[in-house]
C-alpha cells in the first residue's frame, strides 16, 4: 500500500497522523491484508457458497419499541454535560460550521 492511500484513510477516519506512522502502517497493512486475504480463497471452496446471509441465525432479530420519551425532561442533562469539554447554557459548544 502506498503512503498516499494511507493518508486518504486517515482523512476519512478523521485522525491526524505523522508521515512516519503512516509509512509504518502502509508496511503493516501489506502483511495484514495478505493474511486476512485467505478468506477470499476459502470463500470459493465448497461449503461456504451456500451459507446465506440471513438474519435468522440463532435468536438475533430486530427489537422494536414505541418512540416515546421514557425519562423526565433534563433528568440526565447535568450529568451528561459534566463530561463535555465546552458548554454554554446547557448546550454543547462547537465551532462555527458555516
Amino acid at each position: 500500500m502506498k503512503l498516499e492511500d494511507v493518508k486518504k484513510l486517515a482523512d476519512m477516519a478523521r485522525i491526524d497522523m505523522s508521515d512516519s506512522e503512516m509509512e509504518g502502517i502502509a508496511k503493516d497493512f501489506d502483511s495484514i491484508l495478505a493474511y486476512v486475504g485467505q478468506v477470499q480463497e476459502v470463500s470459493k471452496s465448497e461449503g461456504t457458497q451456500s451459507s446465506a446471509l440471513t438474519q435468522e441465525d440463532y435468536f438475533l432479530n430486530n427489537v422494536m419499541r414505541d418512540d416515546v420519551v421514557t425519562n423526565k425532561e433534563g433528568e440526565y442533562t447535568e450529568k451528561i454535560l459534566s463530561n463535555a469539554p465546552d458548554t454554554e447554557n446547557g448546550f454543547l459548544k462547537v465551532k462555527k460550521i458555516l
Partner: protein, 471 residues
C-alpha cells in the same frame, strides 16, 4: 480470624460471612492491604474506588434483610470498559481519560442489586485491542507469576488483580480471547459466555457482534457462580437472548469430546504447549471421557475472518469519539481540526492502526472482497461447528499457542501478536461459549491452559468438564 486470601473461594467466603468468622469490611480491608503493597509494582488497578464504605454498608444491609446471594459482599474488580455510575471508565485510553459514567452497565446493575463489592477498575489494552495489555495508555501491567512477563490481554489488569490476591474474582470482556488468554497466562479460569447471554449494555463497545462480558476466577465453581449471577435478559441490549429461548431440554452430562487434530498441527504453536495438551487429553480420558478426532477444515480461517470483521466494527464504533461531547478535546481552527487532532492525540497507535484498517475494509471497492466475504465465511464456520456438535459435546484445544511472553517481545509485530488469539477466536466467531482452565505449569513456573468450547447456550457442559478436569 486471619483471612487466607490465596485459596479463598466464593462459597467458603459466603459461609464465613454467615458464621460471623469475618465481616465484609474485614475482607475488603484484607484486599486493600494487598493492593496497597503490590499494585504500585503490578499496576493491575488503575483506580481503587473511594466509595467502598457505602458499598460495604449496602452489602451488610442485604445480609441483615436475609435477601443475600452467593455474590453478596464478594469483592471483585471490574475492567476499565464497564460503566459504573459516577465512576471513571476510560477503556484505558487517553481519549476517555477522566470520563465519568452516567449510568450503570447491565452487569453492574445485576451485581449491585446483590451487594457485590466493586473494589476498583483494572487496566486493559486500549479499547480492548491487544493480547498483552501493552497498548494501555496507562502503563504496562505485570504478570504476578513472573513480573518480567505480560499478563496477556486485553483483560490483563483483571487477571493480575486476582492472581496477586487483590480481588476474589474479576469481570472482563472477550472479543477474540480477551478473558481466556489472560486467564491462561496467570493460572486462572476464564469464561466467554454465549453471545447474548450476558448484557453488553454499558460496556464500551469494541466490535459489537463479537464482544461479550464474562467472569474470571480461581476455580470453575467461582466462575460458574458469577456467570449465574449475570446470566440474565436485558431489554436494553437488543442482542440479549430472551429467557424463554434459553431453556435447554434434558441437559445430559457430557461424554464425548472432540479434538481437532489438524488445527493443532499449524505453525507457531509451542512444543511445550502441545505436550501439555496431550497430558490434558489423557487426564480427561482417565476421568471417563471419550476423546475423538474431529475434522474442522474451516476453523483455521477464524482468525482471518476476525481480523476483517473486528477492525470494520471498530472503525464504526469508535467514530463517536469526536472531542466535542466528552473525552479529550484538542483546540483547532475549524471543527474538522478539532476532530482530527482530538482523535490523533487521544487514540493510541494500535487503535489508530485498527481504525484505518477497518476504514480500508469498509471502503468502496473493498467492502465486498473483505467484509462481505468474511461474513459469509463466518456463517460457514458457525455451521461447521454446529454440525460437529451433533456428534461431540465439546471441543478442546490449548487456550494459547504460546506461554506468557516478555514485554516488547511482540508489540512491534502485529501478526505475531494477533496469532495469540488462534484458539480463542473461533468461539467468538461462532457465538458459542468457551472456558479456559489451568492445566499445570512448566519447569519455570509458567502456566499452561486447556480451552473447551461447547454448543450454543451450553455453559453447563463447560462447568461439568471443567470441574472434572480441575480435580
Amino acid at each position: 480470624m486471619k483471612i487466607n486470601l490465596k485459596d479463598l473461594t466464593i462459597e467458603e467466603t459466603h459461609n464465613h460471612f454467615k458464621n460471623g468468622d469475618f465481616t465484609v469490611r474485614e475482607l475488603v480491608d484484607a484486599y486493600l492491604e494487598v493492593i496497597k503493597e503490590k499494585n504500585p509494582d503490578i499496576n493491575a488497578y488503575l483506580e481503587v474506588y473511594s466509595d467502598l464504605d457505602i458499598q460495604i454498608s449496602k452489602a451488610e444491609e442485604i445480609f441483615k434483610n436475609g435477601t443475600d446471594t452467593l455474590m453478596t459482599g464478594i469483592p471483585i474488580s471490574i475492567k476499565d470498559n464497564m460503566l459504573f455510575d459516577g465512576h471513571v471508565a476510560s477503556a484505558s485510553s487517553k481519549i476517555l481519560g477522566g470520563y465519568k459514567a452516567t449510568y450503570d452497565a447491565g452487569v453492574i446493575k445485576q451485581l449491585k442489586k446483590q451487594g457485590t463489592i466493586f473494589l476498583g477498575r483494572t487496566n486493559m489494552d486500549e479499547f480492548a485491542m491487544g493480547s498483552s495489555t501493552e497498548t494501555s495508555a496507562y502503563g504496562n501491567t505485570k504478570n504476578p507469576l513472573d513480573t518480567a512477563r505480560v499478563p496477556g490481554g486485553s483483560s490483563g489488569g483483571a487477571v493480575s488483580s486476582v492472581a496477586m490476591d487483590g480481588a476474589m474474582a474479576a469481570l472482563g470482556s472477550d472479543t477474540g480471547g480477551s478473558i481466556r488468554q489472560p486467564a491462561a497466562f496467570t493460572g486462572l479460569v476464564g469464561l466467554k459466555p454465549t453471545y447474548g447471554a450476558v448484557s453488553r449494555f454499558g460496556i464500551i463497545s469494541m466490535a459489537s457482534s463479537l464482544d461479550q462480558v464474562g467472569p474470571l476466577g480461581k476455580t470453575v465453581r467461582d466462575v460458574e457462580i458469577i456467570f449465574n449471577a449475570i446470566n440474565a435478559y436485558d431489554r436494553l441490549d437488543s442482542t440479549s437472548i430472551p429467557l424463554e429461548k434459553r431453556k435447554i431440554s434434558n441437559p445430559s452430562k457430557p461424554k464425548r469430546i472432540g479434538v481437532p487434530k489438524e488445527f493443532l498441527s499449524g505453525d507457531g504453536i509451542e512444543k511445550e504447549v502441545l505436550q501439555n495438551f496431550e497430558e490434558s487429553c489423557q487426564k480427561l480420558k482417565n476421568e471417563g471421557y471419550e476423546l475423538v478426532d474431529v475434522s474442522l477444515p474451516l476453523i483455521k480461517y477464524s482468525l482471518a475472518v476476525y481480523y476483517i470483521l473486528m477492525p470494520a466494527e471498530v472503525s464504526s464504533n469508535l467514530a463517536r469519539y469526536d472531542g466535542i461531547r466528552y473525552g479529550l478535546h484538542e483546540e483547532g481552527d475549524k471543527l474538522l481540526d478539532i476532530y482530527t487532532k482530538s482523535r490523533g492525540k487521544g487514540f493510541g497507535k494500535e487503535v489508530r492502526r485498527r481504525i484505518l484498517l477497518g476504514t480500508y475494509i469498509l471502503s468502496h471497492g473493498y467492502y465486498d472482497a473483505y467484509y462481505n466475504t468474511a461474513v459469509r465465511v463466518r456463517h460457514a464456520i458457525k455451521n461447521e461447528l454446529a454440525n460437529i456438535f451433533l456428534n461431540v459435546d465439546a471441543i478442546i484445544t490449548p487456550t494459547s499457542p504460546c506461554l506468557p511472553f516478555k514485554f516488547n517481545e511482540k508489540i512491534e509485530d502485529p501478526i505475531a501478536m494477533y496469532m495469540s488469539d488462534l484458539f480463542t477466536v473461533p468461539a467468538n466467531i461462532a457465538d458459542i461459549p468457551a472456558i479456559s482452565i489451568p492445566s499445570g505449569k512448566n519447569a519455570n513456573g509458567l502456566p499452561f491452559s486447556l480451552h473447551i468450547m461447547a454448543p450454543y447456550l451450553r455453559e453447563d457442559i463447560l462447568f461439568a468438564i471443567g470441574k472434572d478436569f480441575e480435580k
